[in-house]
């Protein structure tokens, strides 16, 4: 987590271990606080949402990406620029619907789960990284793109890969009227 060059401050690098441990402690505490997995997932999503609505301006300020003209451009920017910048990984993007508004990000490396083997038996439907879904949803909402984001596959649950699905909700024609 370093700042872009040209800033007067020294390079503040915080250790990745600290970040992963903090996230793990957060999830563990939520599991203690809530009985049901759905509640934990919802809480993580809400937290991610409040991160996402702030993170988007930081992302736009640092990268100066232009307005995306299509949903696939947006998905590409999320995968190739945003994920790279904040998590250091680049998921691959695939479009999974004929209407061109459903996309999947396939992560083969996920730094948040580096130290997690598998979910405990009583927490089988916990989405460990659900905060990422909230972040993406919050960030997209601030640029006027409503989307549903969820985990389609999760390595921690035994699937082959970790897959995040993004479904854009509004039709492309409606977007024109939302300018300014």
């Amino acid at each position: 987590m370093s700042r872009s060059p040209g800033r007067k401050q020294e390079n503040h690098k915080i250790s990745r271990e600290l970040f992963v441990l903090t996230y793990g402690a957060l999830v563990a505490q939520l599991c203690k606080d809530y009985e049901k997995d759905e509640d934990v997932n919802a809480c993580l999503d809400r937290m991610g949402y409040s991160i996402g609505i702030r993170l988007i301006d930081d992302f736009l300020a640092r990268t100066a990406v232009k307005k995306c003209r299509s949903y696939s451009e947006t998905a590409d920017v999320i995968a190739q620029i945003a994920f790279k910048m904040y998590l250091g990984v680049t998921p691959s993007v695939s479009c999974s619907s004929a209407t061109r508004n459903e996309f999947s990000l396939i992560l083969d490396k996920n730094p948040l789960v580096d130290f997690v083997e598998e979910l405990p038996a009583e927490r089988a439907s916990l989405c460990y990284c659900n905060i990422l879904c909230g972040v993406i949803r919050g960030a997209l909402e601030m640029v006027h793109l409503a989307a549903e984001v969820s985990f389609l596959q999760d390595r921690l649950k035994g699937d082959a890969v970790t897959e995040i699905g993004i479904t854009f909700l509004r039709k492309p024609e409606d977007r024109k009227h939302r300018r300014n």
């Binding site: 609505i53 702030r54 988007i56 301006d57 930081d58 736009l60 300020a61 640092r62 100066a64 307005k67 601030m142 640029v143 006027h144 024109k176 300018r179 300014n180």
Partner: protein, 219 residues
Amino acid sequence: MAIFSVYVVNKAGGLIYQLDHYAPRADTEKTFSFPLDLVLRPHDERVVVAFGQRDGIRVGHAVLAINGAEVNGRFTADGKDVLEFLGNPANYPVSIRFGRHRLSSNEKLMLASMFHSLFAIGSQLSPEVGSSGIEMLETDTFKLHCFQTLTGIKFMVLADPRQTGIDTLLRKIYEIYSDFALKNPFYSLEMPIRCELFDQNLKLALEVAEKAGPFGPGS
């Protein structure tokens, strides 16, 4: 070279931050004897010069102070009506300070919302789809530069017409906003920005921008 002020407007058109960095104060104080050769008239909440421009006192300037005491709108510091006071020969000779009145915070709020509406009209009038909106408003005494982010926040900078590098300054202000306002967990989005660190870093950025340009003869 100077940057006069910075305005930050949220998505709904409300002013969330305003800084007057440099205000060219052109106050003139003069002593007058009866009868007053300037024509004064009330305007809104102030007494302004309507006719008789001379010696740096221009039409539109407001009465700021009488005999050193600041006036309170249309009334002197001790509660007398300004026009009555100046109509009475017994009060002369009198020293009056004229100058351009400073905008009150309510007026700034109104002007920011008006600009927000003009900006929306500007982008809709555009013959091309996806216009950036008003980027610059130019007059003979200042240039207003505006930058709207993809999230709908507008950053406006009023600067001297010869000042360069405002585009970079606007991007830098966006970065400072995303750092010191957004990353502050106690700052709620779309609300007025009251973060000390934001103020300090913004002032630093303005000073850097002022020092940097323009490059040219006699700068």
